[in-house]
Point group: C2
Chain length 220, copies 2
DNA sequence: GTAAATTTTTAGACTAATCTAAAATTAATT
DNA sequence: AATTAATTTTAGATTAGTCTAAAAATTTAC
């Protein structure tokens, strides 16, 4: 079994690799884990010895298949627990992450499977992120940024880029959440701000900063 | 906040004190925690410095109100999670303890409260142990041992003394579980074995070893 | 009430994970 | 190409929790 800390390093490296490709550098990991680069080097050596990642001095790290599988499993548990907290315990989507950071380290395959079943095998967490399957398959979202959505076509709000509490709480305040049906009616060419209309005839105004952090898909 | 390890020591001492009164000795704690007496002494000093227990060298330890509150809260979380696993995820009563040992350390009062609400404020866990309230009150069970139950009076199976998997699985095998309605029809004076009848007219034979590990209350 | 047995504590060492400060390597700049 | 800047690694120390072995205190036994 792997320690809480090892799991967190693997998860951090996995998420960095998702965005930036292979050969993740020490400082980037230190930034995510909120620790010092020297500590990262130590842990990297340990994980490398355990064949969970490939490491060449000064050249960054790349997860092995084994390391990747562990990271994906942690992500799976994290997102399943977020669903549980959101769907069953009525937590807000801005409240689930912190608690799931703890729950993701609970070690019981049977628990994970039963939780998955209990939740009805959800495909996405409350932020629209895909939930890996038991075997580690992740169906990548083909969402587009709201800022890139074509005018006057109906879309479904399907995810967020920024997961920060302040952003999520802002969306709470303007009553925008996953599943909202909306379309872009106009764009201010100067600052990129969007005029939005919802299927409930509500008119909203999104700054470009907000719009580029919202993911949507076409409404069928 | 208190570490996983500190919480486990407090819980162990609390449970020992429940049975044996105050001034719990080092060896007993070591036995429960599955560690060496020297390690226990070290941890005792630490918990004593934090005013979680009263300690006099060579004289054993007694939890303070503060230490007791923490222990009770861990027990509360443990039993609530057991309920969740049993009621919602359909785990067997012989499977819930191990997983709850991990879940009891999740740190979020809001989560505990919402879980409690989700479960309908249960009073007992799947083994019949009472669940402490949020404020730390534990309603003591007034169950009696099946081995002491008066003849021919109907009782409800309400708890177990032995929580071991082997015992719970034995009860599974003979299809005896909490809520069963049964009465003692006869007792073998030589070995203490009991003849049992259930409300479904099933006839069973319990050795004294089994009967004294089953807790019942009068059926109204 | 002294000796033996048991329990408990101390002393010193170990592992996991972290840190600071300094050294080594790589990348950027002129 | 040489210097500066940034990144990464090493060296040595620290904390939490554990261990073994030996010393100290308590309890038990005669």
């Amino acid at each position: 079994m792997y320690s809480y800390t090892e799991e967190n390093y693997l998860k951090a490296i996995y998420k960095l690799a998702e965005r930036n490709g292979d050969n993740i550098n020490t400082n980037a990991i230190a930034e995510v884990i909120q620790t010092k680069p020297a500590s990262v080097t130590d842990m990297i050596k340990k994980l490398s010895d355990k064949k969970l990642l490939a490491y060449e001095k000064y050249k960054g790290v790349t997860l092995t298949a084994k390391g990747s599988k562990i990271a994906i499993d942690v992500v799976r548990k994290h997102r399943l627990w977020e669903c549980f907290l959101y769907e069953k315990l009525q937590f807000g989507w801005d409240e689930v992450h912190e608690i799931a950071e703890q729950l993701e380290h609970i070690n019981s395959d049977r628990l994970t499977d039963k939780l998955d079943e209990f939740l009805g095998y959800p495909s996405h967490d409350p932020h629209g992120d895909p939930i890996p399957t038991k075997s580690g398959v992740i169906k990548k979202n083909n969402f587009i940024y709201l800022s890139d959505a074509p005018f006057n076509e109906w879309h479904v709000m399907s995810g967020v880029v920024d997961h920060s509490n302040s952003f999520l709480q802002h969306l709470n305040k303007i009553e925008v959440s996953l599943g909202c049906i909306l379309r872009v009616t106009d764009k201010n060419e100067y600052d990129g701000a969007l005029s939005i209309e919802t299927d409930k005839k509500r008119k909203l105004h999104f700054s470009n900063d907000v719009a580029k952090n919202i993911l949507v898909k076409q409404h069928k």
